[in-house]
């Protein structure tokens, strides 16, 4: 039963953060939109999972597990998020020859 609540919390938390991001004015080219959203979704789920893991491990009394949970799961989620953010940035105009 607890696993159910954890999963619901992760999904709702990720959905709430996703909604917040959508309020921002983000222009993503249509070709990259899907992959950016997928990367963000994976990132948010992993970050939420890592935080949930840490809380459970602290409740258990194993601080090392809590720290490793954040490092491994949320850390990997952060990487996904960073990649997604970088992809969402508009492309830089090509350098022109000034001469």
């Amino acid at each position: 039963m607890t696993l159910l609540y954890v999963l619901i919390g992760m999904v709702l938390g990720a959905a709430a953060l996703f909604l917040v991001l959508r309020f921002q004015k983000v222009e993503i080219s249509s070709g990259k939109r899907a992959i950016v959203y997928v990367l963000w979704l994976i990132a948010l789920l992993l970050i939420a999972f890592g935080l949930s893991w840490a809380v459970a491990a602290l409740e258990e009394g194993v601080a090392q597990s809590a720290a490793m949970g954040i490092l491994v799961f949320s850390g990997i989620g952060l990487i996904f998020g960073i990649v997604g953010y970088r992809l969402s940035l508009p492309g830089q105009p090509a350098a022109t020859d000034t001469e």
Binding site: M1, L3, L4, L7, V11
Partner: protein
């Protein structure tokens, strides 16, 4: 608010009512899917198992090599050789046995070491209080090695005193015949009803896990050991019987196996010391209490019973047949709920049930790659080799032959358990070790994040990852001196 995405971008608001509705629907749908997934994941995936019709379908048994076990070959029995009650056999390793018997002066624990202090011993003695008071009531021969202190009845018959007490008129609320089987037999609706009712009673009486299997004589000891004692607690040598047939007084049809969780904290913070012995003995006390309660319950329903602990039959084999778990590398039962951190008792009866099935949930596959118990065993009693290795075979008569399982060197295991000289000097237990149980990755409290890892261990190819992550995440360590010193002062 803009109504379309284009309007939102044009007006700079970035988000429209239509977008909000779409995303809300998407979030709600995801929550709904997660609910269904979570329901399934929690109940089914975390405890997914393969069931078998019989133990023979699950574990290959070579009936040409298999022999029913004699209790005198249990490793604990060999430790009685110095008393002269059990003759030495050439199966004994003299060098190992000298250490266990205390005749090797170079081998001992120092009393007063953390984990072996007065408070640790007091925990051990408290744990076994009920067991030693009641244990003799669990059949006349006791739970394992110990046999009953006997009362001599007026007709000269020797009866274990606690069995005598159960039917003695001196008990105001019991009285003669209290333990008798009721004449009127209760009729259950069907075998399924019988199983449900008995399991419910067993859990209400205090069992943590209950499984029921049909009777199979192969797993009952061919002979057992009886050490009757007099009222001073001294063994009556002329009555010692090393080859006593197991006589339940009737032909059972079923065996109810009860599992009792032992303290997670004791094995986490006290493995290898008398602290674990206290947790183990607490388990024995619960075995004695609950098996007796269940036996009386069945007797008052009109069914015959024979309740026992370590004696009478191979507890691990019966527990596997009753679907309580799978054998592990450390040669004891591994349950899904508590890992190897359980004690087992049995109640044989002539009542028939809808039976549980043996099940496996990936333990053998995981044990093949894990080997944490073998690495941690201080006396190297647990093998590192594969279960399929031709060298994986019985060490001596202390192992049951013909069964496809990991074979433990029981004498090496006992080295860490007790040293007779140490026990004589301290008056307490040497320690039931339990390091293998403490480090086992299956030994975890019931929390959701451990259920997730159970799911991972069931995925082929991820066993190694789960094994190494167990250590990286801080689990499975052996308590150090400071932890043992702090055990009675704070959470460790």
């Amino acid at each position: 608010m803009a109504t379309t995405t284009d309007d939102a971008v044009a007006t700079g608001t970035g988000f429209s009512r239509r977008d909000f509705l779409k995303l809300s629907a998407a979030a709600g749908g995801m929550a709904g899917m997660a609910s269904l997934l979570g329901l399934g994941a929690t109940a089914e995936v975390a405890h997914a198992a393969t069931t078998y019709d019989t133990i023979d379908d699950m574990i290959p048994i070579n009936m040409d090599e298999f022999e029913r076990f004699d209790q005198r070959n249990v490793a604990f029995m060999r430790s009685r050789v110095p008393t002269g009650l059990i003759p030495p056999e050439d199966t004994d390793d003299p060098e190992l046995m000298a250490k266990i018997w205390g005749t090797d002066p170079t081998y001992s624990f120092e009393p007063g070491d953390p984990g072996f202090t007065q408070i640790d011993n007091a925990f051990y003695e408290g744990g076994r209080a009920t067991y030693h008071t009641m244990g003799a009531s669990v059949t006349g021969s006791g739970m394992s090695v110990e046999s009953a202190v006997n009362f001599k009845t007026p007709d000269g018959k020797l009866v274990p005193w606690s069995m005598f007490a159960q039917t003695s008129a001196s008990y105001p609320n019991a009285g003669p015949g209290w333990f008798d089987v009721a004449e009127k037999q209760y009729e259950f609706d069907n075998p399924s009803h019988a199983a449900y009712a008995v399991k419910k009673a067993a859990k209400m009486f205090g069992a943590d896990l209950v499984g029921i299997a049909p009777y199979d004589e192969r797993w009952v000891y061919r002979t057992e050991v009886s050490f009757p004692k007099d009222m001073k607690g001294e063994v009556i040598p002329e009555l010692v019987d090393l080859n006593k047939p197991v006589d339940m007084g009737f032909t059972p049809k079923s065996v109810i196996v009860l599992a009792f969780e032992m303290s997670y904290e004791a094995f986490k913070g006290g493995a290898g010391t008398t602290i674990v012995t206290g947790a183990t003995m607490t388990g024995y006390s619960r075995m004695a209490e609950v098996s007796l309660r269940l036996a009386v319950f069945l007797r008052k329903l009109g069914y015959k019973t024979y309740h026992c602990g370590n004696n009478a039959s191979s507890s691990v084999s019966e527990a596997i047949r009753a679907g309580l778990g799978e054998p592990g590398r450390l040669s004891i039962l591994i349950t899904e709920e508590y890992g190897p951190r359980v004690r087992l008792a049995k109640v044989y009866t002539d009542l028939e049930f809808e039976y549980d099935k043996p099940k496996s949930f990936g333990v053998t596959e995981f044990c093949e790659v894990c080997q944490l118990c073998a690495d941690a065993c201080p006396t190297q009693a647990i093998p590192h080799i594969s279960i399929n290795d031709p060298e994986n075979k019985p060490f001596n008569k202390m192992n049951m032959p013909g069964v496809h399982k990991y074979y433990l060197n029981a004498q090496r295991c006992l080295l860490q358990w007790f040293n007779v000289d140490f026990m004589n000097r301290t008056g307490g237990g040497g320690g039931d070790c339990g390091i293998c149980i403490g480090v086992c990755p299956y030994n975890k409290p019931e929390m959701w994040h451990h259920d997730v890892i159970k799911i991972v261990t069931g995925i082929p190819g991820l066993n190694s990852l789960a094994r190494y992550f167990d250590g990286f995440f801080g689990y499975g360590g052996i308590p150090d001196r400071q932890t043992l010193t702090d055990f009675w002062r704070k959470d460790v």
